[in-house]
Symmetry: C2
Subunit: 558 residues, 2 copies
């Protein structure tokens, strides 16, 4: 059989988050593999209540670990590096990334006691990392975090460009610009680009993207125009934005104070790795509290409404000695990621109650996106002229739209979602396998499968409430006369105005009195009958059927 | 003491939803009262899991029911009329509204067995309803449902205009246009307008609003351009939009099929009350399924992602014999209400997986709002020249922004949120009382208070899981050796890889063995100790503390 080049996304294809993309080359079923990125996504109350983090299910990769050569991390965003600490010991192979990304990856590895010597810091092209049949180069692209990289992956079947997250920014303030000449060269070396695996996030944004640099003047004008305290929030990892904001504050004659651990950690990593220079001096919250309000600018975390971040704390009340007041100004230099609207609006209303003037980036004046828009994607297709386009980093609708964009230019393209393995060796992608994949949840300190039923039970309890019934069967196989019922998350009373638990108890007592001894003797039958009665009574009383847990204690049994 | 004019919002002021506004006139504490609107709002998984509807807490109004003259309903949207059926029997006074609104209100009253003769259908100005010291006129305004009305409320202290929900639309397709001449007259009668209580929903929208009529041509062009089946969704109550969509379908040579009960009910009410004429003939789903795809247009419910509505069903699979296919087109002729993004996106991705082409109204081509934008609000301020402006129908940030807009014109204005009673008799509003208010939840068939703890317990179970412990104390006051533990919504095992429930049982058994007889004898103490141990073990094993229910059965006790 001929060697083949395969692609298998395990996360990030069909969703925005938890990126994890596998490439392989070799004999079918024995390809040598590399993994690009290992990220997390975040849960929500609708579908994953109580879950701290969500990661790709790496079952397939674990089962084929002997074939895995290395992991490559394109950049330091949580959805690309966030699962490294929790998941590395399932893979146990070297992890390659550039310096700043490495500083962030190191924190993840340390936090979970993973061996730091497995983290290999490498430089950008022309440096080449050999990984089995692959030769990999990190190529700088612009994004909303410094040092984002695309990967140029050479295989015997041809050259792959894995775009990572990127935008076309010639003046990104911090970090490297997108360099079309460099990419022109990459596209023309050897046989050109066989496959472009490409960011699809902004495929529905019709206008060309704008540079980070266009924000400097509007932000300066904004800060200059405010009279009292100025607060600005943005993504903690957007180091360029933090610098632009801080520069604007200083130019407007204010002292700058950073609030929020994530933001300070990011600035520290950027300064220590030499990515960030000339960041203005900052003051402590105590110092900020003691200055006249018109001389202070706070730059704070929590632009997505995170409950414990600085923005939410300031909206609720005092935070580290600082309190917002009538006439202060609060700027969201960020967009709200779909799904986060409710908590962001909650913060806005909290600030409004304090008399704070609100400014958002809805009209684009105070925020630019970190992803390539539709015309930018087209420009990249034209620049790289790939034979095959694989849309990634998007929900299904983004991937499909991106595919159609490519096809309209005559490029072979296919929507490949998580778990679908395609063969890229020929002129067009071909589906060759479907592997088990899915999501793994971090719940407290435990990793559980999304399909384990734990979260399903939580959602059911949240929607339906929970009734617990406790029945004691005595030494003579007779039920003690009283069944004991406790409810949680259910109204105390319903139709008849009698306490719900007592209503259920009365019905169960009646049932137990006349129940067939064979039912009493059979745990499963008895439990089923009790559950049914409990749900019936509750339905009659309050119009809904709760989750029911039945505990049968047999005094004779042990 | 002098008579006074008071205003007291019980819902809708500080939120968008569940409108309920009280006006009163008379001796302080003995004012005769009227209620304007009685609406619902909808729950969400984040803050009210399992809750079917949310209504204003009318406690204060019930306690003062002898002073209440009547309820006035401005229009038929759920957030203005939705609580009438469930709440009328707490008030038991006549309900006034116009014909179409009345047809919808009647359904609410019928559903909950309320006396239909209490529903009084009235005509618009110049008709006047006398209600104690108030003389009330319904004045047509344009909105996104037919027959929306503002109220002109005359009191001995002066004239109030309660705007209801409105926009400035001279060509609303269905229903009445906004008539500036009429409002000019109203503003100049007698002593002019003392108070304008005004819709604030779109105060942050900077451009003048657009008429429903501007959509006709773009929608026709859209339908003409599609080759296969066309599906369009919008708000079921937007009768004008339904007509524009259906007209576009017919003009493009298609047969139109309405899918979704709410939509058919709305069309029926509009036809029966004479509001809607010339609505095209529609076909049944069976007929639609038997026509070539290019000859069919479906108009469907579920624009906000509602799980059981037609849009969601079509995104998941077959619905009433109809199934969407590659090349069909699906249009959202609606905007997504903040907070509904996740379910709407889920539908879009489901459709994308079927190969359906998606079109939304994000750029405004296929949707216009039903509320007055910022310049429209200014135009109304200028037209009515009120002495006092009370912003309503908005979250805090909307109310505050609207207040500032009014103040900039020299109008007295104040943010008055739910539960705050203001005296409007003087030149400016003055806070005179703060009354207990809040939310009432419909849970199944039961009304519960938002603060009753039911929903709090559900949220806690969803976030933390639930452990149930069952302990039996024998006739000699000694615990039986085994405590029985069941868990729900918790991982089966954690750190030690032993089953979590068994780990807890082992710790509890050890505790019970050495426990002080005085602890064993005391239900409260024993329960507390068991809860603490259960949470400790779980914390060690899985890193989180569950909700714990302890049931102690005493064999001797009874």
């Amino acid at each position: 059989m001929a060697d083949r080049l395969i692609y298998l996304p395990l996360g990030g294809a069909g969703e925005i988050g938890m990126n994890a993309y596998v490439y392989g080359y070799g004999q079918p079923g024995r390809e040598r593999l590399i993994l690009v990125d290992l990220g997390v996504t975040f849960g929500d109350m609708d579908s994953s209540p109580g879950i701290d983090l969500i990661m790709p299910d790496l079952r397939w990769l674990e089962a084929n670990r002997d074939r895995l050569e290395a992991v490559f991390i394109t950049h330091g965003h949580e959805d690309h590096v966030g699962a490294l600490g929790l998941m590395w010991n399932r893979l146990k192979v070297p992890v390659y990334c550039r310096k700043f990304t490495g500083a962030l990856a190191r924190l993840k590895m340390e936090e979970h006691g993973q061996p730091l010597d497995q983290l290999k810091i490498v430089t950008a092209r022309p440096a080449v990392i050999e990984a089995g049949p692959f030769r990999v180069q990190f190529v700088p692209v612009s994004h909303s975090i410094p040092e984002s990289a695309a990967l140029v992956i050479d295989s015997p079947a041809g050259r792959i460009v894995h775009s990572g997250d990127f935008k076309l920014d010639g003046t990104p303030i911090v970090g490297e610009a997108f360099d079309p000449i460099l990419w022109h060269d990459i596209a023309r070396e050897g046989r050109g680009i066989k496959v472009l695996t490409c960011d699809s996030t902004n495929v529905f944004s019709p206008n060309p993207g704008r540079s980070e640099a266009v924000l400097a003047n509007p932000l300066l004008d904004f800060v200059m125009a405010q009279k009292q305290m100025v607060v600005a929030t943005t993504f903690a990892s957007n180091v360029a934005r933090l610098k632009t904001l801080a520069d604007a504050g200083v130019a407007a004659g204010r002292q700058v104070c950073l609030l929020g651990r994530a933001m300070r950690r990011m600035i520290t990593a950027a300064v220590e790795t030499g990515i960030l220079t000339n960041f203005p001096n900052t003051i402590s919250p105590e110092q900020a509290a003691n200055l006249p309000r018109g001389q202070v600018m706070l730059i704070v975390t929590g632009s997505q409404g995170e409950r414990r971040a600085a923005s939410a704390q300031l909206a609720r009340g005092r935070y580290l000695g600082l309190e917002l007041k009538e006439g202060d100004s609060f700027l969201f230099s960020s967009r709200t990621i779909p799904g986060n609207e409710r908590p962001v609006i909650r913060i806005m209303n909290g600030l409004s109650e304090k008399g704070v003037n609100l400014f958002d980036a809805e009209d684009g004046t105070f925020h630019v996106s970190g992803h390539a828009n539709r015309p930018d994607l087209e420009a990249v297709h034209d620049l790289l002229k790939p034979q095959i386009l694989i849309p990634m980093h998007g929900e299904h609708m983004h991937l499909r739209e991106h595919m159609m964009l490519g096809r309209a230019k005559g490029i072979q393209s296919m929507v490949v979602t998580n778990g679908t393995m395609v063969d890229l060796t020929g002129d067009a992608p071909r589906v060759v396998d479907q592997v088990d994949t899915g999501r793994v949840y971090l719940d407290g300190t435990v990793l559980i499968g999304a399909m384990d039923g734990v979260v399903r039970d939580r959602i059911r309890m949240a929607l339906n409430g929970h009734a617990m019934v406790n029945v004691i069967i005595d030494e003579d196989e007779r039920p003690l006369p009283d069944a004991w019922v406790e409810t949680m998350g259910l109204p105390a009373q319903g139709r008849t105005r009698a306490p719900l638990d007592q209503q259920i108890e009365a019905e169960l007592a009646e049932f137990l009195e006349r129940a067939d001894p064979r039912t009493i003797a059979d745990d499963a039958k008895l439990e089923e009958a009790i559950r049914k009665i409990t749900r019936q009574v509750t339905m009659e009383e309050i119009g809904k059927k709760p989750e029911v847990t039945v505990v049968i204690s047999r005094l004779a049994a042990e």
